[in-house]
């Protein structure tokens, strides 16, 4: 039964990958990356059970954490680069 | 402590580097870094004498015996190179404090010294280790430090040169990694001595063939063998002058050493030269490198760039020595490695002095400069003579052995090529001498004083070393002779 779940997750990953490649907007890609990350979390958890050594789930935690941080990072720096012109004026004001 | 010498000479600079970061004050950092370097130099001299007395030294890291743990192995092949690296570094650091004043912003000085120490430690580590993967780790330490040092140059082209070097160097390192991986998959070991024992069993496989090819190409990228040399001229020309002094004298030599070690010790003479067309490849590239780089050097206005191309040409000589596949050939290469380190050190350090006063080292601005900076230009003259290979200098000794190795093989054309290469170096050195000594001072010549003693003293130490080892050759020749005999003694 783990197998079925693993296949389902893999299919979902593949579909998310297509979306990440196709875009069209950057936000679509970010969304796809996020979905992809969550699915990887699931995949690794299932693989742990599949191989019979589920005690190393710590890795899954790191995947989830990094997934979150990456999404925030993309948002953060993308917003910055989009509104760089306005950012410049603000920095000057702060000085 | 005497048994720990082999590891001490690497960990002294390695630990001094973070300690420098704690000191923060740049004067203090300089003093501390110089002290650590001199200590390292002393250690490596002791190590050399120990190796000469009692043969190769093996040191097991963490007390784990060889194929399981990492081993340091100092023998006649690498001990003199260790002395060269730490010696040049110590001398150059003496001059560094003055030399970087005008070239690097003041608040970067501490980082500069730390990166310097790390670079030196990396080079020493590559040289001392007996473990293939450890070579990669220390290669990366020295490379990362080198990229930093080059990028600190004043000109913006230094950044671009550094980036190009970073890409080329990383590709080279990754090729080396692939090579090591393929060796590992066939033998199951990473220790060089163990590899040497286990590789013959599988030496007819395609995998080992590929491993060898990738490893050699990776190393050639690092040692800037023609035509993989494209990163080198810019990197040397735009790096801070004192960095160029250090790198030109040591970095490529270490790569040549790694090449010799793997060709002769790890893969073995027979594999390298009979299963693999190494001889033809190396000879062609070596000779092509000598001519192309020497000719390009003639047309350079920037003297640092000219000397950089000359370095590429000299690498050609080193590779040519390897391609002779004879004891004399290897001995000539080893000898030339040490000697070229000394002469390029002196030449680039004199350029550092020129840059310190003039801001640049362009030939067009150096008319009659010898009358303004007599000691500096005299040092350049002697270094240049040594580069050409005039008797009584170190250059003569290594060229002599190189030519005799060629004749020993009966390769007349190659011997002629070597002499012709020297002729080319006469041309580019003469251009400088002519402008500096025989052109009268023009308006374009800046009004400058002689370089300060803090640069002149290290410079003349190197020049005197050039002369001393050119006259009293007993030490260098005997050491390299023993090393070459060792390499061929282990002939399978």
């Amino acid at each position: 039964m783990f197998t079925a779940a693993a296949i389902a997750v893999l299919v979902a990953m593949a579909l998310a990958l297509v979306r990440a490649y196709a875009g069209p907007t950057l936000y679509d890609r970010i969304l796809a990356v996020n979905v992809f990350g969550t699915k990887t979390v699931l995949l690794i958890a299932i693989v742990g059970f599949l191989t019979g050594r589920p005690e190393f789930l710590d890795i899954v935690m790191v995947y989830a954490l990094m997934n979150f941080i990456t999404v925030i990072g993309i948002l953060r720096f993308f917003e910055y680069s989009v509104s760089q012109a306005s950012a410049n004026s603000e920095t000057i004001k702060e000085q | 402590m005497i048994v720990h010498l082999s590891v001490l000479q690497v960990i002294i600079p390695l630990m001094a580097a973070p300690a420098c970061l704690l000191l923060r004050k740049r004067e203090l950092v300089w003093a501390f870094a110089t002290l650590a370097t001199f200590l390292t130099f002393a250690v490596s001299v002791l190590l050399l004498s120990q190796v000469m007395q009692s043969g190769a030294i093996s040191y097991e890291m963490g007390g784990w015996e060889a194929p399981w743990g990492i081993e340091y192995r100092i023998d006649m092949l690498n001990a003199p190179l260790l002395v060269l690296i730490s010696g040049i570094s110590a001398i150059a650091l003496l001059a560094a404090r003055t030399s970087i004043e005008n070239e690097i912003p003041e608040n970067r000085h501490s980082f500069f010294y730390i990166a310097w120490l790390l670079c030196m430690a990396g080079l020493l580590g590559i040289t001392a280790t007996g473990d293939a993967f450890n070579v990669f780790v220390f290669l990366e330490i020295s490379s990362l430090a080198t990229y930093t040092l080059i990028a600190l140059g004043k000109d913006r082209r230094a950044l671009w040169a550094s980036f190009q070097y970073l890409v080329a160097g990383t590709i080279g390192a990754t090729f080396i990694l692939i090579g090591i991986g393929l060796m590992y998959v066939m033998t199951g070991t990473l220790n060089m001595a163990d590899l040497a024992q286990r590789l013959p069993e599988v030496e007819n496989t395609k995998t080992v063939f590929t491993a060898f090819a990738f490893f050699i190409v990776g190393v050639c990228m690092k040692l800037a063998l023609f035509p993989l040399h494209l990163w080198l001229p810019n990197a040397y020309a735009f790096a801070p002058s004192i960095v160029t002094t250090f790198l030109a004298a040591t970095a490529t030599k270490v790569a040549v050493y790694v090449m010799i070690r793997f060709i002769f010790d790890v893969f073995g003479f027979e594999f390298s030269f009979t299963h693999f067309p190494l001889q033809e490849i190396l000879m062609t590239l070596g000779i092509a490198g000598i001519f192309v780089a020497s000719i390009v050097a003639i047309y350079q206005d920037n003297l640092k760039r000219m000397l950089a191309y000359s370095s590429v040409a000299q690498i050609g000589y080193l590779i040519l020595g390897i391609s002779f596949a004879s004891q004399t050939g290897i001995m000539a290469t080893l000898l030339h490695m040490l000697n070229h380190g000394l002469m390029k050190g002196a030449l680039f350090l004199s350029m550092a002095a020129v840059v310190y006063r003039l801001g640049v080292a362009n030939l067009s601005q150096m008319h009659g400069i010898a009358s303004r900076m007599p000691l500096t230009m005299a040092a350049f003259l002697i270094g240049g003579l040594s580069l050409i290979g005039v008797p009584l200098t170190v250059g003569f000794i290594s060229k002599w052995y190189l030519v005799s190795a060629a004749l020993e093989n009966g390769w007349w054309p190659v011997a002629a090529a070597i002499l012709l290469g020297s002729l080319l170096s006469v041309i580019y050195i003469w251009r400088v001498i002519e402008v500096a000594y025989f052109k009268s001072v023009t308006e374009s010549t800046p009004d400058v004083k002689e370089a300060p003693f803090s640069i002149l003293i290290p410079l003349w130490i190197l020049v005197l070393a050039n002369l001393y080892f050119g006259i009293d050759t007993s030490l260098t020749v005997s050491v390299t002779q023993m090393a070459a005999a060792d390499l061929f003694g282990g002939l399978r």
Binding site: R53, F56 | F133, F136, L144, L159, T170, T174, L177, G181
Partner: protein
């Protein structure tokens, strides 16, 4: 897993070469660095595949398990990953400086500006 045979390695070689291609071919310095990362990561994949043993598990000792995959390749690649990120970080720092002093991060534009100077 028999039929995987060398297929695994061939795919890895393709990955490496794609990375290598990006490094050589792309004009943008940041993309070059990303290509380097891919190149290196593929080499890591090669190493780790070499250490895999059929039916083995992670080299963390446990009762009742007798077959472990090779821990040495794991150690080597841990080190290599660190080297990789160190190189990337330094490369990016140089790119930032290049952008500041050249005003561009495209290789041909930098060449053009150097020629002019």
């Amino acid at each position: 897993m028999e039929f995987l045979g060398l297929f695994n390695y061939w795919v890895v070689v393709i990955l490496m070469m794609i990375g290598f291609y990006i490094v050589i071919c792309s004009n943008n310095l940041i993309k070059k660095l990303i290509g380097l990362t891919i190149f290196q990561t593929s080499v890591f994949i090669m190493y780790i595949s070499m250490g895999k043993i059929e039916g083995g598990t992670a080299p963390i000792l446990a009762e009742g398990v007798t077959l472990y995959s090779n821990p040495l390749t794991h150690v080597l690649i841990l080190t290599a990953i660190v080297v990789g990120i160190a190189t990337t970080a330094l490369g990016l720092a140089i790119v930032v400086r290049i952008k500041e002093s050249y005003g561009t991060v495209e290789e041909d534009e930098i060449h053009a500006k150097d020629k002019k100077a």
